[in-house]
């Protein structure tokens, strides 16, 4: 465990030493919640829209996006470590592969917490208000950490496989597309055409429901359960993807 904590600490120190690598990933979801809530304020007037506050709809999307990109950030760092040879030195150390993997995960969770808290605060400042008993904010946080876990596994897995900056482009593009091909902009029942089908079957839609449950009407406990199951399976799959990728470095 100490090896994992050491790797995580090193990764977190890089936030201070190399802020240009972290700040954009932090500002992007802030910009997203600010701009989407204002630009698309009118969508709440669509009959059947589940909230009268646009920021309630767009805040969870920005939080999951920010958290997942905080996770991808560890993938970018891993590419740098692979190229400089630092990663090879770590692999020669008498430490298990799982420990080596856990380090970036811990760093990603801390980064994600920063992103989730900041974006949520901005959302609240813009007028976001939880519905019900307020537990939705906790659910939003869980969804954020879940997406950070998925993003980390996905980013690390690609970094280990490509070992250069091509992986960075692929990890960003796939996650960006994956999140936008959900009900990110409007609810599924208000869509028309191809996106309705894609969003309905996109597993990330279910995770967005976990994030949204406390901010909009119409998402029930069954949706929450399905969302958590999907999130757990996706996180496990991403961990496996990263672990097999790490194993491939030995080939």
């Amino acid at each position: 465990m100490s090896a994992s904590l050491g790797i995580a600490t090193r990764s977190l120190r890089n936030i201070r030493r190399l802020p240009s690598a972290f700040i954009p990933a932090l500002l992007m979801p802030v910009f997203q919640v600010v701009s989407f809530s204002g630009t698309y304020a009118g969508v709440t007037q669509m009959p059947g829209f589940p909230t009268d506050r646009s920021v309630n709809w767009y805040l969870p999307m920005a939080v999951t996006m920010g958290a997942s990109f905080a996770g991808l950030g560890t993938g970018f760092s891993m590419i740098r470590d692979l190229q400089t040879g630092f990663s090879d030195r770590l692999r020669m150390a008498p430490t298990s592969r799982r420990q080596l993997l856990l380090g970036p995960y811990i760093a990603a969770w801390v980064r994600a917490c920063i992103a989730v808290v900041l974006v949520t605060l901005v959302g609240f400042a813009l007028g976001a208000r939880p519905v019900g008993n307020g537990l939705g904010t906790f659910s939003l946080f869980i969804a954020g950490i879940g997406m950070a876990t998925i993003g980390t596994g996905w980013g690390l897995g690609l970094a280990y496989r490509f070992r250069d900056m091509r992986a960075a482009a692929i990890m960003q593009l796939t996650l960006f597309l994956g999140l936008f091909l959900t009900d990110a902009q409007t609810p599924i029942h208000l869509m028309d055409g191809w996106l309705e089908f894609v969003a309905r079957w996109n597993p990330l839609t279910r995770i967005l429901h976990v994030a949204r449950i406390g901010f909009v009407d119409g998402i029930g406990s069954a949706d929450l359960l399905i969302g958590i199951i999907v999130m757990t399976l996706a996180a496990a799959g991403a961990w496996g993807f990263a672990l097999t990728g790490l194993g491939r470095l030995d080939d």
């Binding site: 597309l177 091909l181 409007t186 869509m191 309705e196």
Partner: protein, 262 residues
């Protein structure tokens, strides 16, 4: 005098050919500015299909008709940043300095570099329109409206390209020019490019009201969703043309300052 004018014309022609060819030869530079706007149109057309009935939304047959203007301006803006980045790369590699020591006109160097962006802006407008036609796009102002939009696309590319070129000349860094990309994105988002101003409220509405991009996009939009009017044609062409004149002026001044400092 005529010989000098001819030379200047030749210089602009040669530099224009180079900038246009550089875009043709490096498709990886231009593809994102074609794909991303189309992706957002596809996404918006499906996600906001029913939003066209909300109060304040202009009368349109489909969200696709509404979205064309935003996608054209978005694509042209992104393409223009690419062209300005190419100018910054010329500065970094030393090619720009070689042009400056040659007996070439300063305006020719700048306009030649921007020609690629202008041609690309025009082509993008046509490309987006042609690609979206099979999906039900209709241009209410007809062929004349489309031609006006293409000219508007050309001038928009020139306007943004000139302003970004000033930054390229000032910094001499392609990274700095690329770094300004989010600013353009923010400017675009706080305009009526993606949703009508009439549906916004509060500070967002006020920002969109003073954002020149709103009026630029609305010119294109008017040509798409309304019958042909002189006002819409002038709005589509004259706004970017006016910004172009300002942009070229700023760029030439920045170039003079750079030469004076060196």
């Amino acid at each position: 005098m005529s010989t000098i004018a001819l030379r200047r014309r030749d210089q602009i022609g040669a530099l224009s050919s180079r900038s246009i060819l550089s875009l043709v030869r490096q498709p990886s530079l231009v593809v994102p500015s074609l794909i991303f706007p189309l992706f957002f149109v596809a996404l918006g057309t499906s996600a906001f299909a029913r939003a066209i009935n909300i109060p304040g939304f202009p009368e349109v047959d489909s969200f696709l008709d509404f979205a064309l203007a935003g996608s054209v301006v978005q694509g042209v803006l992104f393409g223009s940043v690419t062209s300005a980045t190419a100018l910054a790369t010329d500065i970094e590699t030393g090619f720009f300095d070689r042009l400056l020591v040659a007996p070439s006109s300063r305006t020719a160097i700048l306009v030649g570099r921007l020609a690629g962006a202008m041609v690309y802006g025009l082509a993008q407008t046509l490309f987006f329109t042609l690609v979206l036609f099979p999906f039900g796009l209709s241009i209410q102002s007809g062929v004349i409206g489309l031609i006006a939009m293409m000219i508007g696309g050309l001038f928009t590319a020139l306007a943004v390209g000139a302003l970004m070129s000033a930054m390229a000349i000032k910094t001499g860094s392609s990274e700095a020019v690329q770094g300004s990309f989010p600013l353009i994105f923010i400017l675009l988002f706080f305009s009526s490019a993606f949703f009508p101003r009439q549906t916004m409220d509060g500070v967002y509405r006020r920002i969109a009201d003073i954002n020149p991009l709103s009026y630029l996009v609305e010119g294109f939009r008017s040509l798409t969703i309304d019958q042909l009017t002189l006002t819409a044609v002038l709005q589509t062409i004259l706004i970017p043309a006016a910004i172009s004149i300002i942009g070229i002026g700023i760029s030439l001044r920045t170039l003079r300052n750079r030469l004076a400092a060196s």
